[in-house]
Amino acid sequence: MWSYTFRRVLATIPTLLAVITVCYLLLHLTPGGPFDGERKVSAAVLANLQAKYHLDLPLWQQYLYYIKSLLQGDLGASFRYADWSVNDLVGKALPVSAAIGGGAIVISLFIGVALGIVAALRQNSIIDYLVMLLGNIGGAFPSFVLGPVLVMVFAIGLEWLPAGGWDDFSLRYMVLPMALLVFINISTIGRVMRGSMIEVLGSNFIRTARAKGLPMRTIVLRHALKPALMPVVSVIGPLAISSITAAVVTETVFGLPGLGKLIVNGAANRDYTLVLGLVVLVTVITVVLNLLVDLAYALLDPKIRY
């Protein structure tokens, strides 16, 4: 397993290079440049701006220049946020997204699994239908509708929590955005868990355990939970990636300084260095999370070997 992990970490390097190259080309092929604005800057100013950010060099030279500074850990200067380096921007957005997205995923995992088990144990009863009705709210309503509703109820109506903003990891500001992400995530986790639990409960070894007269509680927690978690672990990977790196709507609704909005704004502003820097970060996060998921497979099912 250690050698597998090591190989996977090594494989990140070619993955990163490929992603950077693809995105680099995408950025330069996309119409509109970083300095196109409603007011067109004069040719002289444009030339000065391009010289400042080395955009006057041939593309391949810019590319090599970028790779070279990347190797030194420098993601370059942002065009859109002129006073900050991409390192600064990424360094400030990542903890916010990791706290909100990561926290939400952990909470969603517990709630989603619990909902799935309850529904599975009462398959096709009214309890099953109701649990799935509530659990699916985040899947059936778009988050840009659900988010403002949360704000209207808990911030404007009840005045319990702030309507948005961010204050140095103060929990008050984290509750509503995390709640929104939890709603979204449990709709997937709950349903996957329900299905897989029903499947496991129907398998021979559980039938044997039931025949022996073991209490349901023991059967579910001791015997059924582990195999039933397998598909849940599969979906946790993609959910965690999107909760941390692509929670654009959540960040917009609550005005959070996170990664998702930075990526969208970076792309909309054609902020080449910022987008590339974020792409590098998202690739690393994706690779790490997917590696963790793959290692979790091996933990849950000792037969899985890499």
Partner: protein, 539 residues
């Protein structure tokens, strides 16, 4: 994306500027009888993260809103757009192309050192220096002798026409008469800069704890994409007239999120209401809704080189049948007023022109338009292609226009929503037929709007050109007679608009919610409100 992102300089008539040369401070006058709140703190949304707090790199409204509180130029503008003294106590035009500014001796940087004429010379040279790459370098730089050449790299920055005659006297040379100089220098792009601080910290000089500034406020905190906080600058020369102790600027882009923060009490100032909600909030918060027109024009660019639109009769017909009254009252319904000219009401240096058909009944306009189309050989059912960018507001207006052309002229419009930068590229390359467009004045003078329709101007997306009008504009620019200049410019605008290069639609207003306890909010024609003029009323 809303497009009043370009900077608006406040400027007012030359007469006003000259009248203000008394040297008296005219700021933050709290009317008698108003009781101030103990806590003088304001939170306002600026709509987006500032791209920089370096005054010469600031380009957008959010950045300029903040730099205008942190820095002060030779002059400044109050809540009604009037030019008031800033660091300069008085100024005079000593020749058609020379201005002399006398600086006050008690102006200080936030570190306590004196603001001197050489701080201005340094700041201005840095502004036009190619290495700085200020996006506004040629917009304002062209009004200062050699500014254009320096930006183009043809002359060194030291050649700029600005000179410290002594510690408190600044002399400015212009390449031609610039009557609006006192309002031009209110812009913080032309503020003094702290050389020692910039030399010491480089790019990082705009960070909290490092920045030294000379405005009514000093930088306290900057959480990127979250907030900028400034506090009253105790060293500011007019600090006794500054009421606010602290201002927090939010970068909320989503209009609905902005209103939600306002309603939950975390924001005192909604930058822009969501499209289609003005009436609701006007009824709900009658004392908090504020709405003042400003110098901005919503219009549709017509590609004058397009095979169909190169015929002036077609362009005229398209413009005639759009009912601006319904557009203003019913479709956008937020207090904007109909426009029939490239110049909007309140602009200095030219009169607003109009079309004679603007007063005709619609039936007559439609009849005339149909005749024009028939003469041009355009059959009903002909296809038009309209490009706009993602925004509820633009979408609503586009559907309205398409509906007018369809129901009144039988023309079919294909609407195409584009990502903002893609639209910009298409417009600049004239790769479109009809395109949404908008312009907010850079400074209060007719030339800022004339740019939209002048031959070969960077801002002319219509690609129209009227050589005769161009000659009149040249003639007007060279004259020192203000009345003559205005008459020539107005005549030129009329001439160009009769070519129907574009379709003017509406003049901007700034409908927003500001808490009733925020005092000092006026009617600024450039929609620019400084923290110095605002105060919190007891509530």
């Amino acid at each position: 994306m809303h497009h009043n992102k370009s900077l608006r300089i406040t400027a007012s008539a030359v007469a006003l500027a000259l009248a203000a040369c008394s040297g008296l401070a005219l700021a933050a006058q709290v009317p008698a009888g108003v009781k101030l709140a103990a806590k003088q703190e304001l939170t306002r949304n600026t709509g987006s993260e500032p791209e920089s707090l370096d005054p010469v790199l600031a380009e957008s409204v959010p950045a300029n809103t903040i730099t205008a509180d942190l820095f002060e130029g030779l002059t400044a503008t109050d809540s009604f757009g009037k030019v008031v003294p800033g660091v300069a106590e008085s100024w005079k035009q000593t020749s058609p192309t020379t201005w002399v500014f006398k600086l006050r001796k008690n102006a200080k940087w936030s570190d306590g050192s004196a603001v001197t004429a050489s701080d201005f010379v340094y700041g201005w040279q840095r502004f036009v220096e190619p290495k700085t790459a200020s996006p506004y370098a040629s917009t304002y730089g062209i009004f200062i002798l050699n500014g254009k050449e320096i930006t183009e790299g043809k002359k060194p920055a030291s050649a700029l026409g600005v000179k410290a005659v002594d510690k408190y006297t600044l002399e400015v040379q212009t390449p031609y008469p610039v009557p609006f100089m006192p309002s031009l220098v209110a812009n913080t792009q032309l503020a003094p800069l702290p050389k020692a601080t910039i030399d010491k910290f480089g790019k990082d000089w705009t960070k909290p704890g490092k920045m030294v500034s000379n405005g009514a406020f000093a930088l306290k905190d900057w959480q990127v994409n979250s907030k900028v906080v400034v506090e009253k600058n105790a060293q500011y020369w007019d600090v006794k007239n500054v009421q606010l102790g602290k201002i927090t600027y939010l970068p909320i882009e989503d209009h609905n999120a902005d209103v939600k923060l306002y309603e939950s009490g975390e924001n005192d100032w909604v930058l822009e209401l969501p499209s289609g909600t003005y009436d609701k909030y006007k009824t709900q918060y009658p004392k908090e809704i504020r709405n003042a027109p400003f110098l901005g024009l919503r219009y549709y660019s017509l590609n004058n080189k397009d095979p169909l639109l190169k015929d002036v009769r077609v362009r005229k017909a398209l413009s005639m049948v759009i009912d601006r009254d319904i557009l203003a009252k019913k479709v956008t319904a937020d207090g904007q007023s109909p426009a029939y000219s490239a110049i909007v009401a309140g602009t200095a240096g030219a009169d607003v022109t109009s079309y004679d058909w603007a007063k005709w009944p619609m039936a007559k306009r439609v009849e005339e338009a149909k005749k024009l189309l028939a003469q041009a050989g355009v059959q009903p059912g002909t296809k038009l292609k309209f490009a706009y960018n993602t925004s509820d507001y633009h979408k609503k207006m586009a559907i309205f226009a398409a509906s007018e052309w369809k129901s009144k002229l039988g023309l079919n419009t294909e609407l195409e929503s584009l990502e903002f930068k893609v639209l910009l590229k298409k417009r600049h390359d004239a790769d479109y037929q009809i395109a949404r467009n908008g312009w907010v004045a850079d400074y209060n003078d007719a030339t800022t709007f004339l740019a939209l329709v002048q031959c070969d101007n960077d801002q002319n997306d219509n690609k129209n050109c009227n050589a005769k009008a161009e000659a009149l504009i040249k003639q007007g620019s060279d004259t020192t007679d203000q009345a003559k200049r205005k008459q020539l410019f107005t005549q030129a605008v009329k001439m160009i608009m009769d070519d129907y290069p574009m379709i003017p639609l509406l003049q901007y207003t700034a409908p927003r919610l500001v808490k009733s306890y925020v005092g000092g909010y006026g009617k600024n024609p450039m929609d620019r409100y400084r923290g110095k003029d605002l105060y919190i009323i007891q509530h």
